[in-house]
Symmetry: C3
Subunit: 159 residues, 3 copies
């Protein structure tokens, strides 16, 4: 039992892996917070999609009017979907990258730039900032993930 | 070759990791089943989105009428998207959590509650159950993932 | 420090894990390319969803007319969402599968068929090919992921 525990903590003892776990945890939590932002807008704008969600507003027509789309709700949802499209590949490729033996300083550079870019992206989307604010923050995160993918494929390549 | 094989099975020999693999496998399969449920509703309700999917119903107007949305199809699709938003973070954070050296009993508690909550969430969404059934099952799964993220960040923290 | 580095490269030295890293990297990059295809169609078809994205076309009504949906944009977006629904489970289950000690040849068979099927699926969706082209390529990838999940659950099962 002890031996197994020791084995299981090997990875988490590695500094690059610890950095990965920290930043992957931060961006995944950031992504999950989009659910709360969407819920906040749904409740304050009274804009729902499921009939059972409007039942507390009464029955029939009085509740049906809250089954509608709202620009702020849709904006938060698009930000959430963009996170899924970009943060999920980062988490997957980042794990392989962390296991491919990069220098700690290089790895930290990748993780920090990606995390900063995605936090900026969320603000750029929700405020919203004028373009190319959102576009650039998206492109920076996207490029970081490609850079990590290049290192993974160069190290692991076995087709 | 043997040595490598042995190394590769170290993680899967660890009990916490085995529990993680079991529950992550179960919730990912559950998420994938949402595709079949959506396909079932698309076929039985004759509600498609791609013109090439309706060609077996004939050409021209007779097929075009099946390019439409259907409440049951949309409901299954929302359940699927909600799974992506919640099960994917669980799988990512859960992996790091399993590697952060938790007690087996604590880990099992997290994995079991999350898995139960997400299965309930699917039933609550598809039947649908009156609120707050779906909301509560969502919140339980969400909280479990945050609890694991807290343990990961506490153990790994390297910014 | 050296010892830790050595430990961190154990996994990536394993052939099955290297094959997994290669194919997971390829399909994740393929999924990310869907963002570029969507952006390409948004720009060439002038079909945007965020008001701030159309400001370079002028202010007021002249820009507002570009806030619209376009069939090619929507098709690329559906392809991207289908990738999220299928490639993400492959990456998660594939990692556990690679750690469950499969034969290299069996693992390569799974990874190659899945990757080929998903590349075919993208072409079938974007061209589009007549059905059942897209349906079959989807089903092949789906079945490969289930086959890996079965091996993971058989090896790891700890409920």
């Amino acid at each position: 039992r002890r031996g197994e525990m020791a084995k299981s903590t090997q990875l988490i003892d590695n500094e690059v892996f610890r950095a990965y776990a920290t930043y992957a945890g931060i961006v995944l939590i950031k992504m999950m917070l989009m659910s709360l932002i969407t819920a906040y807008f749904r409740i304050t704008r009274k804009a729902f999609v499921n009939p059972e969600d409007t039942e507390s507003f009464g029955k029939g027509e009085s509740a049906k009017k809250y089954l509608r789309t709202d620009p702020d709700v849709e904006r938060a949802r698009r930000g959430h979907l963009n996170d899924l499209e970009n943060i999920v590949p980062f988490v997957g490729i980042g794990l392989l990258y962390a296991l491919s033996g990069p220098e700690l300083s290089t790895a930290l550079l990748h993780f920090r730039i990606f995390t900063g870019a995605r936090i900026l992206h969320t603000f750029a989307y929700l405020i919203p900032l004028p373009q190319p604010g959102r576009g650039l923050s998206w492109a920076v995160g996207y490029s970081v993930t490609f850079s990590m993918a290049y290192k993974v494929l160069k190290t692991a390549w076995l087709l």
